[in-house]
Structures are given as C-alpha cells and as structure tokens.
C-alpha cells in the first residue's frame, strides 16, 4: 500500500462515518431544523471528505484527479448550504416553528401537530 492509498482511505472512512451520523441524525432528531442541521453538516463534511479521499487515492495515477475532485467539492460547498437554507426558510414561512417544549424521547415532534390538524379537518368536514 502506498502513502496515497493510506491517506485517501482514512479520508474516505472519515467521510463514510460522517454520512452515517447524518443519516442517524435525520432519523433521530425531532423537528425539521434539527434534521436539516444533522443532514447538511454531515453531508457537506462527509461528501467532501469522501470525494477528496477518492481524489487522493487516484492521485497515484495522475494529478488531474485531485483538480477534478476539487471542482466537485467547490460545487458541493456552494450548493449544499444554499439548498438547506432554502428548505429551512420555506419551513419557517409555512409556520413550522422550532420545537422547544418537546416531551422526552419524542422522535417526531410534528406528529402531534399533524394529527391535531387532521382531526380538526375531520371535525370541520363533519360539521359541514
């Protein structure tokens, strides 16, 4: 194993670990903003580290790989924060406010709100 492969492998493992934590965060966090935070931070770091690792491993063949991977990393660095910003802004505009008073071990904070809304709609329909 060459030095390139060792360094690249370490970067890829770090990226994979971050992506796993991001997935876990999306599954475990209670509300939209926490989920976005977990998803975005982990995907940005995870994907960047993984792509950089691939570039370093392939640098043994030719140095152009690291340039290509840098371009992809720049693209992710621009697009990923912007998209999560737009998502968070849209959710704020839809009046899904951060969940502060959450009951303990609550996996999905919005379930209560959504169920309540559905119940209200049903009662409205029954009244009609």
């Amino acid at each position: 194993m060459s030095l390139y492969e060792i360094i690249g492998g370490i970067l890829i493992i770090i990226g994979a670990a971050f992506l796993f934590l991001g997935g876990l965060g999306i599954l475990r966090m209670p509300d939209v903003y926490n989920r976005l935070q977990a998803g975005t931070k982990a995907t940005t770091m995870g994907a960047m580290s993984l792509i950089l690792g691939v570039g370093v491993v392939k640098m043994e063949d030719s140095w152009t790989w690291i340039v290509k991977m840098s371009i992809i990393i720049i693209f992710i660095a621009i697009s990923n924060p912007i998209s999560s910003h737009a998502l968070a802004r849209a959710m704020y505009r839809r009046k899904r406010y951060p969940f502060i008073k959450s009951s303990d071990k609550n996996m999905d904070a919005y379930r209560e709100i959504i169920e309540k809304e559905e119940k209200d709609e049903k009662t409205v329909m029954n009244d009609q």
Binding site: I78, S79, I82, H85, A86, R89, R93
Partner: protein, 231 residues
C-alpha cells in the same frame, strides 16, 4: 361465480409464471440474437464511436430518434395549449413570495456551471455516457433554478420556438443529406475520423448536439409554462 373467475385468473397467472421460470436463460440461446454482435462490432470498427448506446440511438435507429423528438415536441405543445386555456379560464394569479437573496446569488453562481455541464454532456455524447436528451435536461434544470430563484426571470417563447424549430429542421436536413450522399435516410456520410477524438463519428455528434438544443428548448418552455400557470 366469483370464485371460479378468481381461480381461473390465478391459474393463468401461475401458468405464465411457470413458463417464465422454466424457460431457458438468455445466456443459453445467445446465438439467436446476432444483432447485438453486429452493433458491438460495427460501432468501434466502422463508426469509430466510443459510446455504443449513442451509436445505436443516433445511427442504427436514428429514424426512431426522430420520432422520439417529435413525440416530445407534440407532448410539450399539447401541455402548453392545455395550460394556456386553463389560465384564461381561471384568470387569477396567486402571488408567490420571492426567493431569498442567498438563493438568488447562489443560483447566479451555479447557473453557468450547469449550462456548461449540459453542453459538455451533449457535445461529448459519442465519447462518454450521456448525450442530447440528458444534456438538454441538465440545461433545462439550470433554467428551472433561475426561474424559481427570480420571479421576474422571463424567457422569450419566440426564441425558444425558433431554436426548437431550427434544431428539428436541421435534424431532418442532415437525414436528407445522407439520402443524397449515401443512399439511405440518416446515412453516416461524413468521415468517421479517429476513435476517441472529439471530431469523430461523422454525423453522430452533430445530430446529438441538435437533439440537445431541441430537448433543452422544449423542456425549458414546458417548465416556464407550468411555473407561470399558477403565478
């Protein structure tokens, strides 16, 4: 009565399922489909095209591709006419909030890169995976990004239809040129050049670039019509 029908349907389903699983595998009667070998051999040796899929789509069955492009054009036109009529009937528009300035400046930054990627995909259609349809779709996503970032971003329908018509007419013209020079419609009459060169493959890259322009114009017009239908 119902039970008999259900049993009959289940029996028929089971029969066809059994046929499917008991039939010989594809590998065993490989000699029967010789057309595959023709495609694979001729693509590299005669057409000098690295991407076999492109060679099949544009050259071996280029006439079908012309039909596909026409179908896409008709679908876009029909959807546009339906939405246009609907908008006239409703006559009111809901005001949508503009996107934030972060999204706007980010979209400005990314938009040229998306257009460049789309152009790259359809120019290198005969060398790398991708081609006219894919590159055109990528360009249309770039315009979609601009349309949702800036509410007042407008595209002239006249320019779009001019690009679309020109690309379609040139497709047919290249087909007819093959008719004159080689003998069949869409014959590859130009020199094929060297394998893996950018200028190789005869008319294949030219036709795929035209398809790319056509698809990009069509899908952009489609997105524009749909987005401005509700306001």
């Amino acid at each position: 009565m119902k039970k008999t029908i259900v049993i009959f349907i289940l029996a028929a389903f089971g029969y066809f399922l059994a046929i499917t699983f008991l039939a010989p595998e594809f590998e065993s009667n490989r000699n029967r489909n010789g057309v595959k070998n023709v495609y694979l051999d001729k693509t590299v040796s005669e057409l000098k095209t690295a991407n076999t899929v492109t060679a099949i789509v544009v050259n071996f069955r280029g006439f079908d591709t012309l039909g596909e492009v026409t179908v896409l054009f008709l679908a876009a036109t029909a959807l546009g006419s339906i939405l246009f009529k609907k908008r006239h009937h409703i006559g009111e528009r809901t005001v949508m909030l503009p996107a934030s300035s972060i999204v706007g400046s980010g979209a400005k930054l990314i938009f040229p890169a998306i257009i460049l990627l789309g152009a790259y995909v359809f120019i290198h259609g005969h060398l790398t995976p991708g081609g006219g349809f894919q590159g055109g779709t990528i360009i249309a996503t770039g315009f979609l990004l601009m349309l949702i970032s800036y509410r007042d971003f407008s595209i002239s329908h006249n320019i779009l239809s001019v690009i679309e018509s020109l690309a379609g007419i040139l497709f047919v013209v290249f087909g007819l040129l093959g008719f004159m020079n080689g003998g069949t419609f869409l014959q590859n009459f130009m020199g094929t050049g060297v394998l893996n060169d950018l200028f190789s493959g005869g008319v294949i890259p030219i036709i795929y670039i035209l398809v790319g322009f056509k698809v990009a114009a069509e899908l952009t017009g489609l997105i524009y019509t749909i987005l401005h239908e509700k306001g």
